[in-house]
Symmetry: C2
Subunit: 482 residues, 2 copies
């Protein structure tokens, strides 16, 4: 990460458009046209205004034609426009959207032993999260997490912080300063018994008051939620009192913000929910009964849902964050994305650090392909074939799918006029005639005979942050690598 | 890979020990003590003589004590010895052993769509392999493959090349020149019907004659098989005639070399074997009946074995190469390593490029952990817990386990006196107080409070070739990265 850090642009003091110029991007642009298909726009010009909004997407334009026809049409003077050329072997791709990630667990990535959800929480997770009440430690951990995920092309994250107000506010400050679009949530967990005494909100009132404090802070630093926004975050039903969940549901309606939680991740957890909420028909029903299931709800995991639960989620318009790396790592199970789609539910991807070990949504997309194949192994015939997710589908999950999950489908996830320039420049250098690779290509070797579809597949399966050369959020360059 | 290539040491014209000096390695050494446990040797000195053999492993020695006590004891003059110090945040680890890899398929990594074994062979694999009769293309592909896998710390590979004699011989030349320990096999496939007409040995005699030519070549360039050795390579039962398999079994006994093939990878393949060999009781039985099942046999995959097949394999002392990345990618199934171990079978890891997309055995070890968790998801109670492989177990698979599979357990896979210095230096730099990482740490962030066990877990799950700083085979530095 050394390169990256030296090259980071100076942190702007605000996201004010007056500090920025209009920009022209030239080259190949790849994004999801539909869930099943990527669109490849070659020799294309994309114009981004000083506020970070895409104002033109024009195939068939090189620099010369852009300067003589396109910029004049926009009323932009050639000398005033910042030009970025993708160049040979490069393409622009929408920034990734991580719809479920615990910033506070970042130092624990890869550390999970043979645990499953409930023992993992007690052994690894609660002690680390609790320790972030130390603001110095929190700053170090959150800065590392945001820098690392930006380097992997994550332009938007839905973060869980900890129960600590100051540390949660700090995470929002860091996201704004480093320029990562983020939903930042203070974790609510007030239920006696499951939550450890050393790491618990004192009461439902305490949960709600502290949540309100973080909402107020996030809104004070970014009043129009241009980069950072609050998200209500009841940890999960076993950790929350009914009173707290009801209070958060009311707050959600009042403030009209997103809410995020976990559902049906692990069989032991599901049993526990049954015991704790004997009056509820299912895990999903617990959230529904508390008023927490709506169009602005992001449910992580949803691995072991019943038909009826999936139908309820679809009816409420709630969204699901699929976390394949976490599915496999802590042996939770294999979520069935095709089945969720068949029910009409919107799905995005989450790294779920540190239940998932990887900070990368590219890796999550790869693992979504693999987990879907493990789902397929348990099926027969046509269902088996259908269960497998394609390259195009998993990249959709990581971009447009994620945008829908966090309610930003009009703003991010693709290259269309009116959307924001949240993007990454991907580079895949060629292996030369002697079998040696050019500078900075990372782990992908392109031989030159591959189709564009094959190059994108190679990037999906062997690419990493080394291929992510530059990252922009709302037009601002937030990461670059030589 | 740019850095790596510039830094590659000049290719020595031979592996003659006279060109080399005695070497002293100092720092932390980590290797498998047993299948279940890693040994951490801190403040340790390892002495490697000019032939690449470890002659001392001494805990409690720093440079000063080594110079005053250890080197004199060995009769080595201080000034004549090359010293390598691991340094803070670094450790030496045995080189990885890839027990199943198709060098000829390297350009196709990541390109497999939604295919499974048999259509994957026809769509992607046979056309590429066939094209490597072009020696210039073969040189480019094989060089890229060997450099790439060396960069990932693979010090030994069991390679499938193609049916082409010259290209196969070229692969052996390249391995010897670049210093990667390798078993190099010309692929035998002579059965009409399954093999495409454009890519098939003409007859059993043709298969055997051409195999003998490559064996002779490999033995001529490295008469004592110090770095490269031949391996007989009947592709798999559906692609080989009975006559060819019998001939290869005879050749194996005559030459006392390894033999490698595939078994029980995919359900369609198993059905096909049943049709083609109606007289055989099982897929395994086909090889057994042809005399191909013995202590020097490496069987790739072995996913869907019956109890009886596993027992036969154990009785014959044949070995299994587990290829988890390939298991998941082309939806073959999830091999059951714990069950194979319970049967008493030795197991190693294979990347199986390009059925598996990743060139890295570290990644294969990671995927072995994940695939074992998918196996576990189908089991209950204690069996479920047991099925999961630990960090220690998957790293064993990639080193000592692999060494047993290729019959080199006395020579490689660990740090013991009398073994060869096939090793890699791993670096895991610290995140500083501001959440920024030092130079060259790649994708792993260490905060400083982690135990050594946790650091190794972090490396397993998020490490990549950037953490592999230097690689040695038989004492020779074959890769380094700044």
């Amino acid at each position: 990460m050394g390169d990256m850090i030296r090259d980071l642009p100076p942190v702007a003091s605000s996201s004010s458009p007056t500090t920025r110029r209009n920009q022209l991007f030239l080259g190949t642009f790849v994004h999801s046209k539909t869930r099943e298909a990527l669109e490849y726009l070659h020799d294309t010009a994309v114009c981004v205004d000083a506020s970070g909004t895409i104002v033109a997407v024009e195939p068939g334009y090189d620099l010369r034609r852009s300067e003589t026809e396109l910029l004049p049409r926009l009323g932009w003077k050639v000398g005033d426009v910042e030009v970025h050329v993708g160049g040979e072997g490069h393409f622009f791709f929408p920034g990734f959207i991580d719809t479920h990630v615990h910033a506070s667990q970042y130092p624990n990535v890869g550390i999970f032993g043979k645990s499953t959800l409930l023992d993992w929480l007690n052994t690894y997770t609660f002690p680390l999260e609790s320790s972030l009440k130390d603001q110095k430690k929190a700053r170090r951990v959150y800065t590392a997490c945001v820098r690392r995920t930006l380097a992997h092309g994550t332009t938007t994250s839905a973060y869980y912080a900890t129960i600590d107000v100051d540390a949660t506010n700090l995470l929002a400050d860091i996201c704004l300063a480093l320029g990562q679009r983020a939903f930042v949530g203070r974790v609510c967990m007030d239920r006696e018994g499951l939550c450890p005494e050393y790491y618990r909100d004192e009461s439902p009132e305490d949960s709600l008051r502290k949540t309100r404090e973080t909402v107020d802070h996030v809104r004070s630093i970014d009043p129009r939620s241009e980069i950072v926004a609050p998200i209500l975050t009841p940890r999960f039903a076993p950790a929350c009192s009914s009173a707290a969940m009801k209070g958060l549901a009311d707050m959600q309606k009042e403030l009209d913000v997103l809410v995020q939680t976990h559902v049906s991740e692990n069989e032991g957890e599901i049993e526990l929910v049954k015991e704790l909420y004997p009056e509820s028909e299912s895990y999903t029903d617990v959230y529904d009964a508390h008023g927490l299931l709506g169009e602005k709800t992001v449910l992580a995991h949803a691995i072991h849902l019943s038909e009826k639960e999936a139908t309820t989620i679809a009816e409420r318009g709630a969204k699901i964050s699929h976390c394949p790396c976490s599915n496999s790592s802590i042996t939770s199970g294999a979520a069935q994305v095709r089945w969720l789609w068949d029910k009409g539910i919107d799905v995005g991807l989450g790294t779920d650090m540190s239940g998932g070990y990887s900070p990368s949504i590219l890796d999550a997309a790869r693992q979504a392909a693999l987990v879907s194949r493990h789902v397929a192994m348990g099926l027969r015939g046509e269902e088996r074939e259908r269960a497998k997710l394609t390259v195009e589908e998993v990249l959709y999950l990581g971009t447009k799918g994620g945008a829908k999950v966090v309610g930003l489908q009009e703003k991010i996830g693709g290259f269309e006029v009116g959307m924001q320039w949240d993007a990454q420049l991907i580079g895949l250098p060629l292996v030369d005639e002697d079998g040696e690779q050019g500078e900075g290509g990372g782990n992908v070797d392109v031989f030159g005979w591959e189709s564009w579809e094959d190059r994108v597949a190679k990037w999906l399966f062997n690419g990493d942050d080394r291929n992510t050369k530059t990252v922009w959020v709302k037009g601002r360059m937030v990461h670059s690598r030589r």
